[in-house]
Structure formats: C-alpha cells, structure tokens
C-alpha cells in the first residue's frame, strides 16, 4: 500500500542552527500537507503543497514539493526554541485519504 516515509526521526540542534525534515512517498502524490505538534498538544496544519516543484515560505520555514511529486521537505532557518515539536508530513493520492509520515521530533537547545 501507499506509504509516506519521513526522516530523520529525531533532530537535536543548537538555537540558531538550521533544520530540515524530509518526506518520501513510493507513489506520486496529489498533494502534501505539513503539520506541527507541540509537546503535549495535537497536530496543527501548517501548509499544503499541490504543484510539482512548488516552494512556499512562512517566515523562517520553507516547504518544497519535488518535481515528481514523490518527495517534500520542510526547512527551518535559524531555529528558535519556539520551533520545538514534532513535524509531520501527510500525503494523499487523488486528494483522498491522507497518509501521515512518522514525524520528526525537533529539539532546540538554547
């Protein structure tokens, strides 16, 4: 079945360093979404990518969708302690059921 793989599982960075998490699918996706879950909280929607090669930015966060629509990345520039949490990607095929990646847990040391 369709799977969405996400790496790394954990990332520990010093405040100010950059961070990237990667999401890969075995099949072509119609769209991919990214969510952030703060410690003790629930996942909250960040953004959706639909077009091949699409790049979107939200302040220090840059989201990319691969040309083949099989992979995506989230890059955070100059991390802050407020970035701490788990970042999930979620892909779907034909805009149907979402498949969540396993998440990347980010820890930022001040």
């Amino acid at each position: 079945g369709q799977q969405v793989m996400q790496i790394p599982q954990y990332q520990h960075v010093q405040e100010g360093e950059d961070f990237t998490t990667y999401c890969n699918s075995s099949t072509t996706l119609s769209n991919i979404q990214w969510y952030k879950q703060r410690p003790g909280g629930h996942p909250v929607f960040l953004i959706q990518l639909v077009k091949s090669g699409e790049v979107k930015k939200q302040k220090r966060l840059t989201f990319q969708f691969g040309e083949a629509k099989k992979n995506s990345s989230l890059h955070i520039t100059a991390t802050q302690t407020t970035d701490v949490g788990t970042y999930f990607c979620a892909g779907s095929k034909n805009f149907n059921k979402f498949y969540f990646g396993s998440g990347t847990k980010l820890n930022v040391k001040p």
């Binding site: 769209n31 979404q33 629930h42 996942p43 999930f88 059921k97 969540f100 998440g103």
Partner: protein, 115 residues
C-alpha cells in the same frame, strides 16, 4: 462548535474493561480519521470515514477495536477487553471534504491509560 471535540479527555480503565471514546467533528465535515499516538511516537492510523462510503478499517490493530460514525457526524471508537498496550492518546481529525485546500483539524485527544 468551533473545533473538533473529543471526550473524555482522560480515561483510566482496568485491564479487560471496555471503553468508548467519542469524537464530535466540525459541523459539515465529511471526512473523519482516528489515530493512535503512543508516548513520543508518531501517528498510527486506525480508521477513516468519508461521507457515505464504507469506512477504511485497515488500521484497526485487532478485532477488539471498532468504530462507528452516526449520521455522518459523531464518531465513537470502542475498545473491548482493553489491554495495557492499548494505553495511548487517541486523536480524532475531521476534514471539510477531501480535495484541494482542505486541512485536517485535530481534537485534543483522549489519553487512555489501562491499568
């Protein structure tokens, strides 16, 4: 309501007992998911409801788990004869409709502890 509501927020039960977890999705949302999240782990898909279609139950870990969605709205996840390994946070998410520009809204979850 303004968001997805789950109840109870916390549930402690004895091993072997049955439990029911409730999810009230956002009104008008056609799709509903149940996920399970063990401490520090990712989201484990359990079941997916989409409109009037037959639910996708492929993620249910055993026949002790079942879920219903009545009237296309409220959903109940039932776990029979609970085991200690069932302890986790159970999250519900609803989506207005599967399509471009739709996001999943998650509830706060039910923390289930089986003792």
């Amino acid at each position: 309501g303004a968001g997805v509501s789950q109840s109870p927020s916390n549930k402690v039960t004895e091993k072997g007992k049955d439990v029911e977890l409730r999810c009230d999705p956002i009104s008008g949302h056609t799709a509903l998911y149940w996920y399970r999240q063990s401490l520090g782990q990712g989201l484990e898909f359990l079941i997916y409801f989409q409109g009037n279609s037959a639910p996708d139950k492929s993620g249910l870990p055993s026949d002790r788990f079942s879920a219903e969605r009545t009237g296309g709205s409220v959903s109940t996840l039932t776990i029979q004869r609970t085991q200690q390994e069932d302890s986790a946070v159970y999250l519900c998410a609803s989506i207005q409709s599967q399509g471009v520009g739709t996001e999943a809204f998650f509830g706060q979850g039910t923390r289930l502890t089986v003792v």
